[in-house]
Amino acid sequence: MSAAVEVRDLVKRYPKRDVNAVDGLSFTVEPGEIFGLLGPNGAGKSTTIGVLTTRVRATSGDATVAGIDVVRDPVAARRLFAVVPQQSNLDRSLTPRQNLAFHAAYHGYPRAERNARAATLLDEFGLAEQADVKVDWYSGGMAQRLMIARAMMHEPRVLFLDEPTTGLDPQSRIFMWERVRDLRSRGVTVVLTTHDMDEAAEMSDRVGIVDHGKLLALDTPAGLTRGVAGQGVLDLSVTPAAGDDTDKLIAALTDVAGVSRGEPVGNNGSIRLYVTAEPETLIGPAVTVLTSRSATVTDVHMGSTTLEDVFIDLTGRALR
C-alpha cells in the first residue's frame, strides 16, 4: 500500500520574501498513522499543510496525498482528504446539520445518504441535541467537533488537523483525543500540527519536528526523547562556594560517568543535567562532586526528558 502522505524536497517561497517558508522538506506518513508535525510559529507547518491541502502552490518538490499528486491533480486529491482548521470556518448561514449535509452535497453524496450520515455523525460527536440551532451559538469546542464531523462526511482517507485542541477545555480535549484515535482505528490517517507538546506525545505515533522550513527530527515520541537528550534529567539547585561559579560546577559534573551534558537553568544557580543512566543512580556521585567543591545543594529533582526538552533542544529558546 502506498504512503498516505508523501512530501519530497518540498520548497515554498512566498513572493517578496528572502527566505523559503518551506525549505526542502521531505517526510512520509504511513496509512493509518497519527502523525504529528511540530514546530514553533512560522516554522513552515501551516505552509506544508497548505500545499498538501491544495491551498498553497508549491515552488518546487513533490507532494502526494493518498497516492494523488496534489500539485498536478488537486481536484482528485480533495476527494480523499479533509481539513479541520484551527479557527472556525463553518458556514454561518446554515445550521450545524445543514453544514454537514451541504458539505456532503459538494462531494456528490445523494440526499438520502448525506442526511443519514449527518444524523450519525452529529450523534457520534454529541451534537444531535443542538443540530438545528444557529452555528453562532456554538462554543469553541462544539464548533471544533462540528468541523471534524463535517470533515468525516465525505469519508476522507487522510485528515489534516491544525492545532486541534488549542483553546479547548480539558473535557473537550480528552473527547477530541478519543475521537482522533477512533478515526485511526477506522483506518483514517491523521496528520496534526501542534505546538502542544503533551498533545503531540500523547497522540502521535510519530512526530516530525520542523523549524525554518526544514525537518530537524522524525521519530516516535519515545524515540525522540531517548535519542536527543538521553534518558532523563537531574535538576540541582546549588549555591557555589566563594570563588567558584555555576559554569565550573557544570564542567565538573559532566565528568561524572552517566552525565551527557549540563546547562544552567535561570539565574539562581540551578543546573540541569541530561543523563544517560537512571537519574536516581547519579544523585550520589553528583552531590559528592558538589560537596567536594564546598557547594551547597538545596534541592534535587529527577525527571525524564519530555518532548518539550527535545523541542527546545532542537529549535532553541529564542522567541518567535
Binding site: 512566498y14 491541502t53 491551498r55 498553497v56 502552490r57 482548521p85 459538494y106 445518504e113 469519508e155
Partner: protein, 268 residues
C-alpha cells in the same frame, strides 16, 4: 462503528455536481433570507422612483413622460447593483473574517468554478430583482411602460448587464480588504450609480459634452440605454448592438480580472 461505514457509499463526486451543490447552497440561503434580499434590492430604487417620478411630478417639476423614462433606467440600475453587491460584499467577508468560503474551495471542483458560481448566482439574483422592479414600479407610478416586441432584447441585455455587474463585484470583492468596505460605497458605488445614464437618456447629454464622455466609460450606461431601447424605444438611445457589444466586452474584461483576483486569494 456504524452501518454508514459498512454500506458502500453512493457518492459520485464530480465537478458538475459540486458546482450545482454550491449554487444550490447560495440559492437556498437567498430563499431563507428572502425578505432581507427583497428589502436590499427593492428599497433604494423604490424611493428613487417615488421621489423622482412621483414627488417631483406632483410639484410640477417633471412630466408624466419622465416616469416612463425613469423606470427602465431604475430596472437597469437595480439589476446591475444587485449583481455587483451579491458578489462583492459576501466575498470580502468570506475571504477574511468568516473564512466560510474555505469549505467550498476544498470541494472537488476546479477553483475557478467557485468564482463562476458566484457570477451565476449574481445573475440569477439580479434577474429576480429586475423582475420584481416592474410590478413595484407600476404600483408606485400607477402604470409601467411595456413593449412586447422588446422582450428578447430586454432579457438578453439584463443577463449581460448583470454579468458585467457581477464581474465588477468579483474584481472588487477580491481586491478590497474588509477594512475598506465603506470606501467601496463612497468612491465606487455612488459614482457608478450616477454616471450610468439611469436617470437620464445618454442622448440628452449632447449639450453637456464632458459629462457625456464620462458616462460613456460606465458600463451601466449601456445597460440603461439598451433597456430603454427595449422598453421605451421612442426615447432616443444608443444603438442596441453597440450596447450589447460593450456589455459583452466589459463582462469578459471584469470576469477575467475578477477570476485572477479570486485565484490569488484562494491559492497562495
Amino acid at each position: 462503528m456504524t452501518d454508514v461505514d459498512i454500506r458502500p457509499s453512493e457518492a459520485r463526486p464530480s465537478a458538475g455536481r459540486a458546482f450545482r451543490a454550491i449554487l444550490w447552497r447560495d440559492v437556498f440561503v437567498t430563499g431563507k433570507e428572502f425578505w432581507v434580499f427583497l428589502a436590499q434590492v427593492a428599497l433604494q430604487p423604490l424611493f428613487m422612483l417615488f421621489v423622482f417620478a412621483k414627488v417631483l411630478n406632483a410639484g410640477g417639476y417633471v412630466t408624466d413622460d419622465y416616469a416612463h423614462l425613469l423606470l427602465p433606467g431604475i430596472v437597469a440600475l437595480t439589476a446591475f447593483l444587485t449583481a455587483l453587491q451579491t458578489v462583492s460584499f459576501p466575498l470580502i467577508m468570506e475571504f477574511s473574517f468568516t473564512r466560510e468560503i474555505e469549505d467550498r474551495l476544498l470541494a472537488p471542483l476546479p477553483t475557478y468554478l467557485v468564482a463562476i458560481e458566484k457570477l451565476t448566482l449574481a445573475i440569477v439574483r439580479a434577474l429576480a430583482s429586475a423582475v420584481v422592479m416592474f410590478p413595484i414600479g407600476a404600483l408606485v407610478l400607477g402604470s409601467a411602460p411595456w413593449h412586447a416586441d422588446g422582450l428578447t432584447l430586454l432579457v438578453v441585455s439584463l443577463i449581460l448587464g448583470s454579468w458585467v455587474g457581477a464581474g465588477i463585484g468579483l474584481a472588487l470583492g477580491t481586491m478590497v480588504p474588509p477594512s475598506k468596505i465603506s470606501v467601496i460605497f463612497a468612491v465606487i458605488l455612488t459614482p457608478l450609480m450616477f454616471t450610468g445614464a439611469t436617470q437620464y437618456p445618454w442622448k440628452s447629454l449632447d449639450s453637456m459634452r464632458w459629462f457625456q464622455v464620462v458616462t460613456a466609460f460606465n458600463p451601466l450606461t449601456y445597460l440603461s440605454e439598451v433597456v430603454r431601447a427595449a422598453v421605451v424605444p421612442d426615447v432616443p438611445h444608443i444603438a442596441p448592438w453597440i450596447c450589447l457589444l460593450v456589455l459583452t466586452l466589459s463582462g469578459a474584461l471584469f470576469t477575467a480580472i475578477g477570476i485572477r483576483g479570486f485565484m490569488r486569494r484562494a491559492l497562495s
